[in-house]
Subunit: 215 residues, 2 copies
DNA sequence: TGCGAACCGTACCGTACGGTACTGAATTGG
DNA sequence: CCAATTCAGTACCGTACGGTACGGTTCGCA
């Protein structure tokens, strides 16, 4: 990085320089590969070719680094808004299946699993600050996408529910079941990914049986 | 263990002396209170009034202690077998609701959450040995209870499903949804426990809509 | 050309943890 | 009453980590 013009925050509204983004990327790679234990300040500095002093200047302390990693990763995942096109029963079903597959893909991603493990590990102490961040910045996003989809389905007379949260909870549970926990516990994700398509279709079919208006 | 007479394993078939059981109990308390970071060998020794040397003699190393803790806790949770009584639609529903509530109670328990957090934290490295233990000794138990219940329902002509695992997956998902993850991430469990009853009934109702034979 | 800011690389410090070794007390069996 | 075993308590060692300080270098800027 050189002249301040080029160093200026190029990374959305994060207040992060691109150099810092590169460092966070490297830190995420370390976390994914070796878990929290591998995420040492010296290790990050070595991997990213920066000095520990810079790390502390940019992120304050180790916890600040962790928070920045979660915020950084969340900022990269933009949930595309559903084009509120006219829905019929068939297109709603297709949209739901796509959503279900995306959900499974996101939850089984390397970085997602690593960050969830990190936040869960820190949940006992420290008031679960990271847990709230992950919940807010991650789940809320995909939850909004689902809520919009469900609401559109209801507006189109294709779905019937009183409580949108309850309906979303059912959809989430049918799609994810205990797969997420199994993956967090270390079950090989590679073997399970093949079943995502079938699982998504089954879950959506069941969800429509519960909440669909069409017979 | 020495003269084998006085020190004999009094704790089921675990090969554990009762003294060792007390130590593990204390270790679990430390883990629940302060997370993995609080579970130091010196801390356990101090809390349990034993020497570090004894800890290493009994459990080998720190990982052995962790494994022993999981095995010890699992050995205390005995899943009562369902009395294969004659089922009608109403009693099946009641049994399912009880199962759902028990499931939520177990998953939201202090020790369960702490051990799951511990195993998840260790999942990245070490081939997730603890994760498999937890999966095998914990989930398998309650899964068997559910499988027996579902099978009884099918035998009685009250449930219709081809794949028992799939049906159980749906039941689990409808009951638990994302509550488990939220609690693992540090969401206050106290506030949520009030909703367990309603949640269980809703989930069972939905499950019977999907897999019940009675109209 | 000289100044200052940012930064890399490394050395350093205090601490805390896992694991081992030793000592003295208690208990047991003969 | 004595010898043997176990164990608590403590001291100790090596290591690794979080955090800080410093020398040297690059680069923009005047």
């Amino acid at each position: 990085m050189q002249s301040v013009a080029a160093t200026r925050e190029t990374n959305a509204g994060n207040g992060l320089t691109e150099r810092q983004g590169v460092v966070l990327e490297e830190a995420l790679r370390l976390l994914v590969d070796g878990g929290e234990k591998a995420l040492t300040t010296a290790g990050v500095a070595r991997a990213a070719n920066c000095s520990k002093e810079s790390l502390y200047k940019w992120f304050g302390d180790r916890d600040g680094l962790l928070s920045a990693m979660i915020g950084f990763q969340a900022s990269k995942v933009r949930t595309l808004d559903v084009a509120a096109s006219a829905l019929d029963a068939e297109s709603l079903s297709r949209h739901l299946v796509v959503f279900a597959k995306d959900l499974l893909e996101v939850l089984s991603g390397d970085v997602s699993l690593a960050l969830n493990r990190l936040a869960i590990g820190q949940a006992s102490r420290e008031g679960s600050k990271l847990g709230h961040m992950l919940q807010e910045r991650g789940r809320r996003q995909i939850g909004r996408r689902a809520a919009a989809l469900l609401e559109a389905g209801r507006k189109a007379g294709l779905l019937a529910f009183d409580d949108a949260d309850e309906a979303y909870g059912a959809l989430y549970g049918l799609v994810v079941s205990d797969w997420h926990l199994k993956m967090l516990l270390g079950e090989e994700a590679g073997e399970m990914k093949k079943g995502f398509g079938r699982k998504a279709e089954q879950a959506v079919s069941a969800f429509l049986t519960l909440y669909g208006k069409t017979v």
